[in-house]
């Protein structure tokens, strides 16, 4: 009885999967886009707009920039990389794995010290010096750009060594983990990306935006990969991402700066 029900359910699931696969819109071309985890949600919002405007389809793969770098070196079938940093796209371009001259900064991130609770973080970040907290979440400074930026801010404030000595830093593998530490209340506050906590102009909880002079710009570079057979479509997509007013507005609303 149970096994028959299970078989029925799995058949139904299979049928639905096939139907879903068939229902995908017929597209002129399909671009495989490797996108940094921090921009994945934003690109998911942008993709339908581009697909509608161009008739081409975007297939998004989310991951860390370091993982994509390794995978692209090993022949991963991506057409475009939207990285979370500038170093890896630059290196790929230098190694001939990217189309020369196609690299540009599609978004610049903003670092924010954030707590989901009101009144924890003041607008000047004085709370950092007060020491009246148990732990601060940050992303791994060696691999995650936002982690490196957080380290630069804490170093500029003269707090980096002390916080390390006092074991007050909870280090997440990436910026999303740092956000999760704070969102679940396991740390009092965390250095995260503005794009993670802003919803339009609204930010729930309390926050401090460190001056941009305290950390190196969080530029995120895009690159067309040399192995692509769809260069014209890839160029059209990156052009759209860079210049379409609607696209730029969506990126800004997600908490990024865009260079004019």
């Amino acid at each position: 009885m149970t096994s028959r029900a299970l078989r029925g359910a799995s058949l139904l699931l299979l049928a639905a999967a096939f139907a879903a696969a068939l229902a995908l819109p017929a597209a002129a071309e399909q671009l495989n886009v490797a996108v940094a985890a921090n921009f994945f949600g934003t690109l998911q919002k942008l993709a339908p707009e581009f697909e509608q405007a161009s008739g081409n389809q975007l297939v998004l793969s989310s991951g860390s920039s370091g993982q994509f770098y390794t995978q692209i070196r090993e022949g991963a079938p991506f057409d475009v990389l939207l990285s979370a940093d500038t170093d890896r796209p630059r290196q790929l371009e230098a190694d001939g794995l990217g189309v020369a001259g196609s690299r540009f900064t599609y978004a610049t991130g903003t670092l924010v010290l954030w707590s989901p609770k009101a009144g924890v973080v003041d607008r000047d970040g004085k709370v950092l010096r007060s020491g009246s907290y148990r732990m601060i979440g940050i992303a791994e400074p060696r691999n995650a750009p936002y982690g490196a930026a957080a380290q630069q801010v804490l170093t500029a404030l003269g707090l980096w060594d002390k916080l390390n000595q006092d074991k007050k830093l909870a280090v997440g593998e990436n910026i999303n983990q740092a956000w999760q530490f704070a969102a679940t209340g396991n740390v009092d506050m965390a250095f995260v990306a503005l794009s993670q906590v802003s919803n339009g102009d609204v930010i729930a909880g309390s926050y401090w935006l460190p001056p941009q002079s305290m950390y190196a710009p969080l530029d995120q570079d895009a690159l067309i990969l040399a192995r692509t057979g769809k260069r014209a479509t890839a160029e059209a997509f990156l052009n759209w991402l860079r210049k379409d007013p609607q696209a730029v507005a969506t990126i800004k609303a997600a908490g990024y700066h865009v260079r004019e």
Partner: protein, 232 residues
């Protein structure tokens, strides 16, 4: 099970996961049955070496195992060059690559129950069969395999469930490509990364409930089987 409950990507990923787990289990049974049998029966000094190697995939973090497989199977790696030399596409970023990675990753979960089951069959039953002039092959298929049924069931279930939940290896080796190498566990990760917790919870619950039902069925069947098999 409407289209709004699962996105098309969710359904395709579930299908890829099921297909991957099923193929992995079948291939592992074919490969590990003779291997576990040899490990249990041999008096060779290579035995401990074989046992240690068969347990090794448990040690490495999955992403690291995936990384080494990627280097090995990629166009610059030894395995990738061999494939290209044979006129085939490298296995990295393909479903075939995921099958290979999953087999390595889940192998200990098949070998160890099988070896334990063959051990519990014991030499005596096989010796009795031998005195009745059963050939070695005969003894294996008509005595050892039926008596070791529990090991086959346990190994299959563990490998199936382990492959369904696999993440690090498939992410690194597969490249998270929807419709090709994106499994259900990776889609759950994507939903979490995109802060779509509702979708992540729907898919997680689906995996949990499906696997729990599967395990219940198998363990219920497992309880009924062995007594009769042992007295056969």
């Amino acid at each position: 099970m409407s289209a709004s409950f699962y996105s098309p990507d969710d359904l395709v990923a579930l299908w890829i996961s099921l297909k991957l787990a099923a193929i992995t289990v079948v291939l592992l049974l074919l490969l590990c049955t003779p291997l576990a049998w040899w490990l249990e029966m041999t008096r060779s000094r290579l035995r401990v070496l074989g046992e240690a190697m068969a347990a090794l995939p448990l040690v490495l973090p999955p992403t690291v195992l995936g990384f080494y497989l990627l280097l090995f199977l990629g166009p610059h790696g030894w395995g990738g060059r061999l494939m290209q030399g044979l006129g085939m596409q490298p296995l990295a970023f393909s479903f075939g690559g995921l099958v290979l990675g999953s087999m390595l990753y889940s192998m200990p979960f098949v070998i160890q129950p099988l070896q334990g089951a063959f051990q519990s069959v014991g030499a005596r039953a096989l010796e009795v069969a031998a005195t009745l002039r059963a050939s070695p092959l005969d003894r294996f298929f008509t005595v050892a395999v039926p008596l070791a049924r529990r090991g086959f069931i346990t190994g299959s279930v563990l490998a199936f469930a382990h492959t369904l939940g696999e993440f690090g290896v498939v992410l690194m080796l597969g490249g998270n490509i929807p419709g090709r190498t994106q499994t259900a566990s990776i889609v759950i990760f994507n939903h979490v990364e995109a802060f779509d917790y509702a979708a992540a919870q729907r898919l997680s619950a689906t995996l949990l409930i499906a696997c729990f039902a599967l395990l219940l069925i198998v363990y219920t069947a497992n309880r009924r089987v062995p007594e009769t098999a042992a007295s056969a």
